[in-house]
């Protein structure tokens, strides 16, 4: 989806961005949400905006509902292994993907369902992969942590923390090597920042001026470890990029429009040959690290605070407040999502399991 109608504004220096965010956080109540971003006012009244804005809502709701269905089916034993849910972080994936073009490469971490769906991966095949079925994206060989759809240039789903960053650097190199203005984006969490591959890839991308967008989803916990316990230097990461000469911004990861705006700015610069960019989104997962985790290491009050900013509450409220949608529009989207997810579960339940004879398929090209 192109978003040419969003005129990229001047990218604000990271520290200015941080100050803005603090104001936003202070003003963050449901009533005030319509006032959060001027870009919202511009975009909401642009021609043809309504369908696109509704689609952002639909995608976020699709991810939320898909993840809830995953949890249900994990409890039923239809999904096994490690299952990491993305609930709470939807605005990040949806805001990011809405700015990318089909030729861009997307590489992500193991909490990958939301990115896959926002990238337009088939819901049935994504769910079937979690069910371990032959009709799954990876024919049942990858599972939750390893979703791939090469036709969408969605290049995984990677489960070694930080291991996906060099891969994305190589994909971005292939874009410039071929003389295109396509880019690669790599998602990673706050936990990956302490891996060597993070620093190595930042350096390589800067030295080679690669069109690689580093997108940090800072949800404040690496599994059960709060950032402050495992990292020297506080809970902000974006200033680190400056030491590699990479421009960086901080964005409210609960605000899909703000994510879109900073993405459009960063991607525009990268397509023009500006080299790598870095975006840190502050966000929160409402559930545990995986289905095995009751999240006892954090306070309920912290979760409650973040849920106040839930994009699936604040964004539809904004749409209603701005007259971009009426309640029946939202209800229609939710109904369509419920049908889509139910159909994906039925598709998965009805799909054949792979045969043990296929163990050796696709080991080699």
């Amino acid at each position: 989806m192109e978003i040419q109608r969003y005129v990229p504004t001047q990218l604000r220096p990271a520290r200015q961005m941080r100050a803005d965010l603090q104001q936003i956080e202070q003003a963050s109540s449901l009533d005030g949400v319509g006032e959060l971003r001027s870009v919202g006012e511009v975009s909401l009244y642009g021609p043809g905006e309504k369908a696109e804005l509704l689609d952002l809502y639909r995608q976020m709701y699709l991810i939320r509902r898909f993840e809830e269905a995953c949890a249900e089916n994990y409890s039923k034993g239809n999904i096994r292994g490690f299952l990491h849910l993305y609930i709470g972080q939807e605005a990040v994936a949806v805001g990011v993907m809405s700015v990318l073009r089909p030729g861009d490469y997307v590489v992500t971490h193991y909490r990958d369902h939301g990115h896959a769906l926002a990238r337009g991966v088939d819901t049935n095949r994504a769910m079937a992969e979690l069910f371990g079925r032959k009709t799954g994206l990876s024919k049942g060989k990858g599972g939750s942590m390893h979703l791939f759809d090469a036709s969408k240039r969605f290049m995984g789903g990677h489960a070694i923390v930080g291991g996906q960053l060099p891969l994305a650097a190589g994909l971005s190199l292939s874009c410039t090597y071929k003389g295109t203005d396509d880019i690669a984006i790599v998602f990673f969490g706050d936990g990956a920042v302490n891996q060597g591959t993070f620093h190595e890839t930042m350096n390589l991308a800067a030295v080679w001026k690669l069109p690689l967008l580093f997108f940090l989803e800072n949800n404040f916990y690496g599994m059960g470890s709060a950032i402050g316990k495992v990292r020297a230097g506080g809970t902000d990461f974006y200033p680190m990029a400056e030491s590699y000469g990479i421009e960086s911004v901080l964005v409210d990861g609960m605000n899909v429009l703000e994510v879109r705006e900073v993405m459009a700015n960063a991607v525009g610069k990268m397509r023009a040959g500006g080299g790598p960019q870095f975006i840190e989104a502050k966000t929160f997962r409402y559930v545990g690290h995986s289905m095995a985790d009751p999240a006892r290491y954090r306070d309920d009050s912290e979760l409650a605070e973040w849920m106040e900013k839930d994009p699936l509450k604040t964004f539809p409220s904004l749409l209603l407040a701005r007259g971009a949608a009426v309640e029946s529009d939202l209800e229609a989207q939710r109904e369509s999502v419920h049908q889509e997810v139910s159909a994906a579960v039925r598709f998965s339940e009805g799909s054949a399991k792979p045969s043990p004879h296929e163990i050796f398929d696709d080991v080699y090209a």
Binding site: G136, K139, A150, G163, G170, T197
Partner: protein
């Protein structure tokens, strides 16, 4: 027929690939301006420029992984490691990324790349620079592993490796870069997965690869002087192993010795000898014989290092002891 060293044969193969295939590019530490730690890539930067002969930071995980990504993006990168021992720093990228990518994507993605690395002991580089991890990597599904011991095979295997659609570990015996031999001027390839009978014989089968081959040739000469006719086989490919050629030979000779210049324990020759025990036990005159380097870190001191490596006396001695040859 031109005579080339292994170093020159590899350089020729790289040059030829850069010349003929625009999707091929090289990257590694000091392969450009410096010309490569072992001078394999000397002159290629000047000929093809910095986009295709890329000097990297000392950052193995990043540039091995970037090679995988570039391959997944449709290019054919050839990545040079300064030492096979340095593969450890990027092991996650080789195993979890290069080797697993195709499988865990259900066959959607391929990673056609070559990782070249000098390997093996013998140059007094001590524990961290002398290891032969091609034997570890040979166990990993999704990878191909080759190891030439002659200029002919170096060029022929490099051509096949660059055309291969899977990631290939191309292990270059560091002690053999200067070894010379005849290399045909006309184009040829050596297929991955094909062992080579280098010397025919009837009394015993001797198997090795890379730096072990000169030891086997010397052993075969000693045995010939005793009237024992040894068949000498170069594996050339550690993954897949050309089991058929090995089995045929052992069924003929009834005796087998496999030599590894890597550590004996858990080495590739453990796999080779176990397979032969399974498949040729009815033909064997005695137990399979496996020799290799001592199971200790590589020492620096020359006498200690040479003492750790197997030699022709070990080969002939073990054949005498086991098969009374």
């Amino acid at each position: 027929m031109p005579t080339l060293t292994i170093r020159e044969a590899i350089r020729l193969g790289l040059d030829e690939a850069l010349e003929t295939d625009p999707s091929v590019f090289l990257m590694g530490e000091d392969i450009g301006t410096y010309g490569g730690a072992y001078a394999v890539t000397a002159g290629l930067l000047e000929k093809y420029g910095p986009d295709r002969v890329r000097d990297t930071p000392i950052s193995e995980a990043a540039f091995i992984g970037a090679g995988v990504g570039a391959a997944a993006g449709g290019l054919r990168p050839i990545v040079e490691l300064m030492s096979m021992s340095f593969a450890l720093v990027g092991f996650d990228q080789i195993v979890n990324m290069a080797a697993n990518l195709r499988y865990m994507s259900g066959g959607q993605i391929k990673a056609p790349m070559v990782i070249r690395a000098p390997t093996g002991a013998g140059m007094q580089l001590a524990a961290t620079h002398s290891q032969s991890f091609e034997t570890w990597l040979a166990e990993v599904p999704g990878l191909r592993v080759v190891a030439p011991s002659t200029p002919y095979d170096a060029l022929g295997l490099l051509r096949s490796s660059i055309k291969e659609d899977n990631p290939v570990i191309y292990a270059e015996s560091a002690g053999l870069y200067g070894a010379s031999g005849e290399t045909p001027a006309e184009y040829y390839e050596v297929p991955i997965g094909s062992a080579k009978v280098c010397r025919s014989g009837d009394d015993a089968t001797l198997i090795s690869y890379g730096h072990g081959m000169p030891i086997l040739y010397e052993s075969a000469e000693i045995l010939a002087a005793r009237g024992v006719s040894a068949e000498v086989i170069d594996l050339r490919s550690l993954s897949p192993i050309d089991t058929g050629v090995l089995v045929d030979s052992v069924q003929k000779t009834g005796r087998v010795l496999a030599l590894d210049t890597a550590r004996r324990s858990g080495g590739i020759m453990a796999e080779v000898t176990a397979t032969l025990q399974e498949q040729t036990s009815d033909w064997l005159d005695g137990p399979v014989v496996r020799i290799g380097a001592k199971c200790a870190p590589w020492p620096y001191n020359r006498e200690m290092e040479q003492g750790s490596l197997p030699d022709a006396q070990d080969v002939t001695g073990m054949l005498s002891a086991t098969y009374d040859l």
